[in-house]
Every structure is written in C-alpha cells, then in structure tokens.
Amino acid sequence: MSEITSLTEAVAELVHDGDAVAIEGFTHLIPFAAGHEILRQGRRDLELIRMTPDILYDQMIGMGTARKLVFSYGGNPGVGSLHRFRDAIEHDWPHPIELEEHSHAGMANRYAAGAARMPCAIMRGYVGTDLAPHTRVKPVTCPFSGEELVAVPALRPDVAIVHAQEADREGNVQLWGIPGVQKEAVLSADRALVTVERVVDELEPKPGGVVIPGWVIDAVAEAPGGSQPSYSLGITTRDNDFYRFWDKLSRDRDKFEAWMREHVLEPSRDVASR
C-alpha cells in the first residue's frame, strides 16, 4: 500500500545519493516538481535514466546531479538542442558525465524486461548502426527459427518517479492521455514515487486510462501543476513558450545558474511546486 505523503518526505526517503533514478514521462506528465525537489535536497552522483532527457534532465545535468545518463533522445522537443546536456558532453561542464545511449525501441524494451523481472529483452534493432559498438546490445539467435536478433539488458532502476493526474486515498493511481513508458518504469524499479495533480475519493475510469495499483508504489505525493511546463492532459496545458524560453536562457552557464537559484532552489518560487 502506498503512503500518501509530502513530496519533501517522499524524496528524502526514496532517493539517495548514488542511486539509479528513472524519471519518466514521454513529453506528457513529466515529473518536474519531483525532479526539482531532488535538486533542492542536493542529491549527488545519480545515474539518471530517461528515454527523452528534456528540460528537466537538462536542469539536473547542469546542476551537477548526474554521474551517468542512460537515454535515447536528448533534445528540446520541437525546439532544438539541450544546451546543458551538450555542455556536459562537449565541455565536461560542470563535470564529465558517463553516457549509455540506446534507441527508443531499445529503452522501451529494457523497461519492459525490467518490469517482467527478465534479464534481457529480445528485439530487432541496432544492427548496421554505429550505436551498436557504443552501447549494451548483443546478438542472439532465436532457438526456434534460427533468426538473428539482438538482446538488450533489462533496466532495473533503484527508484522510478512518474507523475499522474489522480490518486485515490489508498494510493491507487490513474493516468490518461499519452501513457509513455510510466507503468513499465514503476514496475521495473525497486522503489516507486508517483506525484499526482490531485487526490480524489474515488478514481473514475477514463478512456485509455492506465491504473497502477497502490501496492506497487511506495509513496504518492500531491503536486498540483507538478508536470509544468509539460502537462497533465485534462488539467494543465503544455507551456510551449517555456520550451522556447529555455532554449535561449540555457545557452549561458551564468544565466542558467542564476535562474535555477531563483526559480527552483528557492521552493516558494518553483512553478512546478505551486
């Protein structure tokens, strides 16, 4: 049974220095509030896992939180580059970062294997590319057909963090709209934290709704607006202007740090936590 607690307490309890942390949300339901709370609590040396490191991971990488990044697409969706991500890789700023890079299909299958507690996933992919020699993928032969396939290792994060629209008072969670890889991330991890827009008496079934039972979640924390500047379908809308603003602001190290100090590290000013 998941405990309904404050975001501050949930992060303090579930996220530790050195952990492998998967924060998921595929352009939708990105847990900005939780990521910002990790920054405020000064976690260090994290292995950050995420298919699409966008602005949230750009902020965390720029603030020096990441030891390693496991990912498949590091861009500002629809806008362009992630400048803190690039600065870390191109110039080791604020420090060098280890990369483990995959394709989306590879990452999605790795999460699914982790959720199933399988050691690996079998798929078609990677062959003929320069990615194959730079990442963790191995050839495997189908024992039935003899077809040459590849295997990717399961992802087993220490902790997964996702955002959803609603939880009930028992900590059961429902999200709807683009479901990304959130269910797989929660089930692949040892510990799971879900932030929600609101806690309700009863979850009303939604078309395409994904329900995650409370007993596979360690903590649920209410964080209204906690996916902004991404969005929670039906409750908040995507702040496209912020994604464009970030492209300009984040090019400059000093401006980036000043902005993060003012808007994220000072909790009362954090947009995502309001």
Binding site: F26, T52, P77, L82, E90, H104, A105, L233, R238
Partner: protein, 252 residues
Amino acid sequence: MTATNEQATAGEVQTVVAARRLEHARSVFIGVGRPSTAALLARMVHNPGLVLVYESGTIGAKPFHIPLSIGDGELAETADAVVSVPEMFNYWIGPGRVEVAFLGAAQVDRFGNLNSTVIGDYEHPKTRLPGAGGAPEIAACCQEVVVIAPHSPRTFVERLDFRTTVGYGDGPGDRERLGFRGRGPTAVVTDLGVLEPDAETRELKLSQIHPGVQEDQVREATAWNLEVAAALERTPPPTDEELTALRELLSR
C-alpha cells in the same frame, strides 16, 4: 488573397513536394517540424484519410494546429488510439504496419544513411546532437522512408561522422543481409530537389529539381559527386490549392 506560384519559397516547395509523396499512403510516421506540416497538408489537399502516427503513441491523430512537440495534448485528444511506447515500437513499428516514415537528419550520405548523434568523434564530439530516438528501428521496419533535409554540403556529406540510422548501408544487398523488412529510403526531399536511389547501385541520384533551381546549384550543395538520373524531372510548381492550404495551416 490568392497565392501565386511565383511567391512560393524554397521551404514551401519542399513541404508541398513531401506532402505529394503521401497522396496514396495509408499511414505515415512523423516527427515535428516540416514532416508534420507536410503530413497535415497532405490530409488537407491529397489524402483526407491518411493516418498520422507520432512516436509519442498517438495513432490516427488529427490535429488542427501544427504541433510543437510530438506529445502535444491535441494529438492525444484527436487520436484513434493512444498507446504506450513499448506497444508503439513492438506492435506497430516493428511489424511494418506503418507505410511511410518521414525522417530528418543532420547528415545524409550517398546511400541514404543518416546521422543524428554527433558531429565529430563520438567520445569527444564537436557537436552533440540529440541521438537516435526511434529512427533506427523506424527506418528498418516501416515500408518506406522519405528523408526530409535542407540541402547543403554540411548535411549531404561524403562520409557520416556517425551512422545512427541505416538507409542502404554500404550498397546493394545490405538491407537484406541485415534482415530489414522495409524497403528503405525511396526519396530524399530537399529545398532544391528530390534524390532517389538508383535501382541497381542504391546510390542517391538527383531525380527531380525544384522550380528555378539549376543542376549546378544542387551539385554544389552536395559534398559527394552527385549523379543526375537519366529522366530528370522539373518539379511541378505548387498549385494555388496547395499553397493556399499550406499558408492557411501555418497561420492557425
């Protein structure tokens, strides 16, 4: 105001030509930017039943506005089905259910292989690009690939810095050897013309040239020695209908 052909910019011609490629397609896989604009234009002008598939899991999206991100709320709200990322790749992309894929890239080589990972050395890149995303499996599995890229020698290179996505590999037979199900790139649509693979050598050749563009201009914008197809065609200029629809779409 009626749009006239003379007013079409190179970018508009590129979008219009990409949209024409979807006239008879059942489904198209698209990312944001020009591919998305072209696919929406195709639905307006050529093929109202065209199924738009976005990587975010929205199948059959019918957005009124051009989305900024592949995960904009309007895509989920208008889709026939919204699926998880594992389902998108394992049940929809992998088996080749999607007919055409529109892909972009920072570098394209003569065999239609694509780089979206790094400029320079992988370990110490000069420019770190976003990375593979879904492209390698999309290009391997969708029935055909149309590459959309701006024409310059920085993009159309002799040799990729990194092969993120396989087109025809090192030439004839490579896709078959790698076990790919899709046919591979059938066209590269640029702001100057269209390149198509030679039926035998698989090398991209100039097959179509846009209004007002000279052959030399295209060759100069290509770092390899670009050959011209025997039957080089002049792109029919955008019609009033195409141009008016495109401008209306962009103004929404």
